[in-house]
Amino acid sequence: MEVVTILLYSLSSPVLSSPLPLSSLLPLPSLFSPYLLSSPLLSSPLLSSSPLLSSPLLSSPLLSSPLLSSPLLSSPLLSPPTSSHLLSSLLSLPPLFSSPLLSSPLLSSPLLSSPLLSSLLPPTSSHLLSSLLPLPPLLSQPKGELDQVGETGESGEYNVYSTFQSHEPDFDYLKSLEIEEKINKIRWLPQQNAAHFLLSTNDKTIKLWKVSERDKQPEGYNLKDEEGRVKDISTVTSLQVPVLRPTDLMVEVRPRRVFSNGHTYHVNSISVNSDGETYLSADDLRINMWHLGITDRSFNIVDIKPANMEELTEVITAAEFHPHHCHLFVYSSSKGSLRLCDMRASALCDRHTKLFEEPEDPGSRSFFSEIVSSVSDVKFSHNGRYLLTRDYLTAKVWDLHMEKGPVETYQVHDYLRTKLCSLYENDCIFDKFECVWNSSDSVIMTGAYNSFFRMFDRETGRGVTLEAWRETSKPRAVLRTRRIYTGGKRRRGDVGVDSLDFTKKILHMAWHPEENIIAIASTNNLYIFQDRVSPDTQGPDLGSDTI
């Protein structure tokens, strides 16, 4: 209730300096976040025309939900005040599946095309978001920085919400090796108050950050003046009620915890538990569980390091907690197996509760079979019943109740199967692609090369290839499907396998937990795609555009 009061007050306050034609905004539902309106960031006239503003989508609970968990998209994109902008620039896309899926790329900024960033983005994904246009470009972003997306301008580009340096380069004196400041993973915590919390990790150290914003400040105290000095009591002739005046938005990001010295090997995953109090961090050979409030102690829950390192043949590649059961977690290995562990069984979960492994097809064995079977990412479905894994050539969906094999297998880029030798040579075979579920667990998405990414509809089993590349798609344009030419009739726009650019790889991506909004990290840019807004553009199902 108080929030609404403040809002109304500030709307009518003459001090309100926002250039926004606030009257053009829709009448506020009571749930409407005050920040949205009072923020001077709302400069886009698109807002007034967007039908989405009146939708309950913009209610604060939604807005404040942590959007993205990918290293790239950790911005509070969909939380106030930015979500309104996101939603406002939409485009249309022919529905790929039964539900309209994506719309135009909201292209990200030229900021990320600075050489510094381009070299950092895919491996580090330290920069969350980018692109801005009216804000001055952020110069020389050093490594290890996190950016958060801000609002859009009229051209459909996003403004940086905040930038901060997450990690610094370090040096391990014992081994005489550098510890890079590049960020390996970012995870949001479930929001509990107005501030957002996120965990970010480099190879060795995990940090908890608090992101809070301030866009108002109280004025008109009776006993203190504007600078905070105590007033001379004799000058006070009347009493006034202090009011909150809007100021420029200030985003503060502060480190709250530093979890260090927990890992000997490189941390590859972090996952926040559903209990909201603990999280796990996984490196190549061990998984530790931490409490968010305790930095000097962690519990080792998985240790697959052999007594003799000579016998090492398998490493941990990814780990995640179950979305609902706080005692369950899964970890994947470089041999393509998944292990589900129940922490109630024992303190050290070296013995898995369930082992998910697909027996190898003896007919297709090659020298690269093992490398290609290494799982690069594992994700629980939102309902907690399925697991999605990504290995080099396929994406697989596993049912938690069936261990002997996946229930669905999707070929992401099977045309690479004959190119494995040269991909091994240029090290591309070791690329770790991420995979994501949509909010209803009906669609899965993963990245590929040549700035392509793939989406698979689980109900029909069909897949589609899309491209995240600003040269070929204009802002607010419909995203068209792409095809790799593998034989048969060649259509215009088909890309040959040999002309694929293996340096343009899409490793990181995220899907909004509730909406059909995705963020794709391409080499220098971050693309945000969204569901089509206008309902009349629902075309026929383009299921034929499958690969």
Binding site: D172, L174, K175, S176, L177, E178, I179, E180, D203, T264, Y265, H266, N268, D284, L285, N308, M309, E310, E311, L312, T313, E314, V315, T317, S334, G363, S364, R365, S366, F367, F368, E370, I371, S374, R417, T418, K419, L420, C421, S422, Y424, E425, D427, F430
Partner: protein, 308 residues
């Protein structure tokens, strides 16, 4: 690059009974071609993998997952080659070619697959890729001879590695240990094979083998993954080894850490058998102690190590 299906074709063509008389030559010719192309592919893959392992030293710790996957690939190839018998052929060819003292077949086998790290600190990487050794092995032998001699010499040297001897060692016969030891016994029994290797200096050779098994068994993949370990329970230092390092300032490092291949200032890769045996610390490493000791002296050192 060869199509993935080559392997199956290879085995299929081998197993296929010869159809008719006319086709005999053609099919056997095709089979031979398939065979050699497959083994060429396999060999080049092995070389590539070894180079990859060799090159993954850096200022930053190398990626353990990648290293493990490459090492598994190497192991897989070695196992296959051992089963095929090509491994035997290759090592024999190498041992025959190498008339120098340090030409134990086993040593060569080990050196063949060993990746050695050159001094990354100097920024000079001159990895010599292993020449493709086909079943014939003849033309490659000569090249290998030089390489192996250099490798052997460098391998023998306990002191600093010089960038001029860029052969690679993979300390470790990862999964090769079992087959490697089998070869030892196999070769012991086999007179023909023994002949060549014995020519190379029987006494030292046996010791070398023992030394190899000693050193490499105990320190093989520890070096490979040694960099990932700060502290390894190192095998108890051989007093003979202590003697080797007597001229080096012992206070500068701990023998245990040396043996576990811990990396110090010059950023050596983890797979450096030599580094682990030689002294650590900036001064010894940058010292220009000659790597090319007298072979006799090396024999003597080998004897000490083996503790005979």
């Amino acid at each position: 690059m060869f199509p993935k299906g080559t392997k199956r074709k290879f085995s299929d063509s081998r197993e296929e009974p010869v159809a008719g008389g006319e086709d005999v030559n053609q099919s056997s010719l095709a089979a031979v071609r398939m065979l050699s192309s497959y083994s060429l592919q396999r060999q080049s893959l092995l070389d590539m993998s070894l180079i990859k392992l060799q090159l993954c030293h850096m200022l930053v710790e190398p990626n353990l997952c990648r290293s493990v996957l490459i090492a598994n690939t190497v192991r897989q190839i070695q196992e296959e080659m051992t089963q095929d018998g090509t491994w035997q052929i290759m090592t024999q060819a190498l041992s025959a070619a190498n008339a120098a003292a340090q030409c134990s077949a086993d040593r060569l086998v080990a050196t063949e697959v060993l990746c050695r790290q050159t001094e990354a600190a100097q920024g000079e990487q001159v990895p010599k890729p292993f020449p493709v050794v086909g079943s014939e092995g003849c033309p490659a032998e000569e090249v290998l001879e030089e390489e192996e001699a250099a490798a052997a010499e460098v391998g023998m040297t306990m002191s600093t590695v010089s960038p001029q001897a860029p052969t690679s060692y993979l300390p470790g016969t990862f999964g090769m240990d079992p087959c490697w030891e089998e070869e030892e016994t196999g070769e012991d029994d086999d007179d023909d094979e023994e002949e060549d290797s014995e020519e190379c200096g029987s006494g030292s050779e046996g010791e070398e083998r023992e030394r190899d098994s000693l050193v490499e068994d105990t320190r093989t993949a520890e070096q490979v993954f040694g960099t990932f370990e700060i502290k390894n329970p190192a095998p108890s230092p051989d007093p003979a080894l202590e003697e080797l390092f007597s001229d080096v300032d012992a206070s500068y490092y701990d023998l245990d850490t040396v043996l576990t291949g811990m990396q110090s200032v010059p950023k050596m890769g983890p797979y450096d058998l030599l580094e682990s045996l030689s002294s650590h610390g900036p001064s010894p490493l940058s010292s220009s102690t000659s790597c090319r000791s007298d072979l006799n002296e090396l024999d003597h050192i080998m004897e000490i190590i083996v503790g005979s």
